[in-house]
Point group: D2
Chain length 338, copies 4
């Protein structure tokens, strides 16, 4: 039985409390928030927990095995470091940290101490993304040629992070989860239409080979779009997260090239078009699977698919995108093997 503390009781924290409360093998012991009223209000629904305003109390409590940190991005690193240093397993809200250097230190620290470090890239645990991964792994779509992701709506303008750090972690985590190739460079452009925080950004990630991944994230769109096109050499996928039931559509469509027998230089294109298939999507709550994976990793010592290294890969791309965006679209290379 693992004792869990949740640090940060604002928007996302209560969801973690709710889910960990229902999972076998763990108990939520402590709720921590700088605002005592916020923790107290949550505590009323979970009378078996106790509250605190200083995370130190959690770290110093030998009874606590693991902490879930749901605080603003800039506090991820100091809180997670302190937690790991006191021997706690750590689950962090996305993104893992505000910089690749900080993320890297957390990864190393967790590895040195043999502790579980996981980032809550919840989409990775959704029925839709798990099904896409299954299709990709099964070879059904062939080679991935491109990924095009759009995540826009009239969203909350954040003051501490721009749209890139707020929305793109979802798409980047999905892309790096699906694509085996190494990212080589990133470009990004963005715009701050109000104030100084970018509310719209376009990010291009160039992988080895001809694979491009591209994102459009936007807090200032009139309609909500959560759509990803995945072009494969054999089939293509449309993933629309707003579809109530048919979130994934697999299209028997594509292009086949062959050499023109009449000319060595020319290539002929054949078009394939066929059936469409929308597989049934498991509806288990992704957050439940994410928390379950965290507990399993603690028990088995085998990292989950959203472990620290996966989280670091996402932060590296976000950081490169941020650098490119600040330089109006300058190409920013990613170190090989990073």
């Amino acid at each position: 039985m693992r004792n869990v503390a949740v640090i940060g009781c604002g928007y996302w924290g209560p969801n973690l409390v709710r889910v960990f409360s229902t999972l076998d093998g763990c108990t939520v012991r402590a709720l921590c928030d700088l605002d005592p009223e916020r923790a107290a209000s949550l505590q009323r629904r979970y009378p078996a927990t106790r509250t605190c305003t200083d995370a130190r109390a959690v770290f110093d409590d030998p009874e606590i095995d693991a902490v879930a940190i749901c605080t603003p991005v800039h506090s991820h690193y100091p809180l997670a470091r302190a937690a790991l240093e006191t021997g706690k397993h750590v689950l962090l809200e996305k993104p893992l940290a505000h910089s690749a250097a900080a993320a890297e230190k957390l990864v190393r620290l967790a590895e040195d101490r043999h502790l579980t470090l996981q980032v809550d890239h919840t989409f990775i645990y959704s029925g839709a993304v798990r099904k896409i991964r299954e299709i990709v792994d099964g070879g059904e779509i062939g080679d991935i040629l491109y990924v095009d992701s759009v995540r826009v709506n009239l969203g909350l303008f954040q003051s501490d992070v721009n749209v890139l750090w707020d929305l793109a972690p979802h798409d980047v985590s999905i892309i790096t989860h699906l694509v085996a190739a190494e990212p080589r460079w990133v470009t990004a452009v963005g715009s701050a239409h109000y104030g100084r925080v970018e509310n719209q950004a376009y990010v291009t990630i160039r992988f080895d080979g001809s694979l491009i991944a591209h994102l459009h994230v936007n807090w200032l769109a009139p309609v909500k779009i959560r759509s990803t096109l995945i072009g494969g050499s054999k089939r293509m996928i449309v993933y629309d997260d707003l579809e109530p039931s048919e979130k994934i559509r697999v299209y028997e469509k594509g292009v086949t090239m062959h050499n023109d027998p009449a000319s060595r230089a020319r290539v002929l294109v054949d078009y394939r078009t066929g059936d469409m298939f929308a597989p049934y999507i498991d509806k288990t709550e992704p957050l439940e699977r994410s928390c379950r994976a965290f507990l399993d990793a603690i028990e088995t010592g085998v990292p989950s698919v959203t472990d620290g290294r996966a989280g670091l890969a996402v932060v590296r791309i976000l950081e490169a995108a941020q650098e490119s965006m600040r330089a109006d679209g300058k190409r920013v290379a990613l170190a090989p093997g990073s």
Copy 2:
């Protein structure tokens, strides 16, 4: 009564023959194509026309007042130049020319000779784009903050031009028609998944101020999308060209900023959300309006909205995008006032 010749009887030429045949004030006299069978086959439906395989015959015919050129892009410049030099008014299929230098020469030549030079950016004449322009001009959406355009489907892989020169002229012509600001620089990335011709490209155009326009053009997508988001400071527009009737939706949505009275440094954001309005769209065939505009420009000497200068502005952006794409996304500046 203007006598018109159509040069190029392949895919688009027959449409021009059909439309000019029905318009008052002009007569289609000649059909020209390198392939005599193609011209002959079209001539059977328009018995009053005559055919030729050499455009010279058209240029040398003093009876011909105007030519419509619907040939591959690389022949636009030599054909249009010859036409202008022999005193013909010229309507060119999009894009105006294969390079900004060529386009510029055509513009200058036409101006020197007081001839009408027009490019057939047909979308500018569609009910939808005309209505958007009317809304923009009326101040209803306030300042344009961004334009995001997606034009993808499983399209024909061309061998002479890439997807940028094939599809992007539509979006770039719409954007430059709607946006009054000057474009400052362009970045683009693309990928050639089969052969050496890019079949997918992303283009960012940065205008003066914080306005970004962004395009996704793609010949290798499982679904057809023709969608443009226009973010304005007062309202926002979604233009979906595939919608049978409600192509334009105007959203009473947006963000209002004001200074936080409690803090000089902070800005407060208010969200507005309200009605949606889909104005009735005139269904006149855009090509008919385009041809009509060409004839009117000839009569009045007043250039149409898709005159040579408008066509040149489009080519400049395409050329810069091409240069950027070849250099993996390098930022390419546009000369001011160009």
Copy 3:
């Protein structure tokens, strides 16, 4: 301060407990369910309430002012009668009762005792239906010519009521709320594809004049549809309850007739087509408005729009539809003024 008891803690009851708990001017005092475990489990979340298994305990408690009854349809009448006889105000889950005779007795009893009797036709309180009513009352759509309602999905096969009594109360309550004319007769056909309980039904309600209302309710459909067309003499409305934001679309479309000047017998038809308008829909939870209306009716003595008489009108139509359905579509008249 009104003290409320909720009888029936199954599917819908907990929602009423939740809402009444948040409303000013009332307190939830008692939770009653035949299954003591069900009441107890709900009580844990609302520690200030007490539980019982016999509704008698609620009726005999002089402290209780009002009861909300969320039990199977056949128990509505005996429970509501007992509640009214002991001086309680009554809110019933839809439909009001299992027969028009029973519904009529409840209405009379409530009126004799000057007690509030209300049926929880929640849709009437939704932002969408309130907006439609506002449009209808404002004369914007002219005369209502027809209402066509489709409410289908793969729904739970009930064993105590058929699809008519399960789903049609929603549509019939909306229709009678919007249409001022008197219903004259009803026809219905249905089918029980599994067992003996009809899982699909079509109902036609003919009103005075040429107005038809028609319903399709179905538990055995592959897709979920919640759509209502309202044809008006001036404008037409599409109400799609599954649309996340644009639930109502008002179309500037229709037909205008005028006499043919050339022939006294002939009528000429003109078609109008124009803008479409999707008004902003208030998102307040309908159930909150429903409960608020119940409390207001108790305070003021002025019945709400879903009072006993409104509930009776719905039951009369359901009963007639049931009779018609059992007789394979026989026309069943509704008594005038009923």
Copy 4:
């Protein structure tokens, strides 16, 4: 080589001329229309044809093998009878005739004379309906439990026929093509909102067993809907004719009943939900297949799937629906084996 004449050059006739002109094995010889200008205008595009205003000229011409009749419904019977009596094969625009008696006479006449009689129920030849039939025949959807068809839009108010005879032939022909069971009775209600011709109708067809087919046809709807739900015991189909590519969706959804081991009287319901599958739809023009089928039937003597008997079955249902509609929804029986 069969010589074909087309009688009626209004809305549909030119399509038949176009298609027969391109088919091998036949030649369009004559175009007949009461309005000489209409035939002449069409003749200009088909110079090898000759025109006439009196159908007698066609019937008396021994060179003509077959006639296609595209005239108002009430003239179908006299024209087709005259054609058959002069030994011509006959293809009639839908519906076959204005009454079951007339349709029956035509069927008998054609059979007596060993001539091909076919009705142009074009939808039967569409890729979508052929695919549905294939799925039904393959047993994939199990038993058909219901068919629900909606065909509404702001349509042309006809003066000679009501919406039932104008639109319902499409749906009734599809239903009788797919359903093997015998229709037993029909009910219909309709409304004439302008003038005396019904512009909206609901039709219920009850087949042997628990199968209901239901239609909504409407000329006065704000949006265009062409949608059919087919509930099967194993799978369910949604056929949306307005979908550009995925016209048919086959849902792995349904209900399985089994007896409750705990109680002899009770039946337990299990819900199945699974993948969705949108098969590729052949895009050959349905009219081309319809005309081809007519020519094949002439050559082989084997009637097509839309032969006179199929057309008669449709007219019987339309006539019964008309009778029911005039009697405000009275149930009208269909003679067994009819």
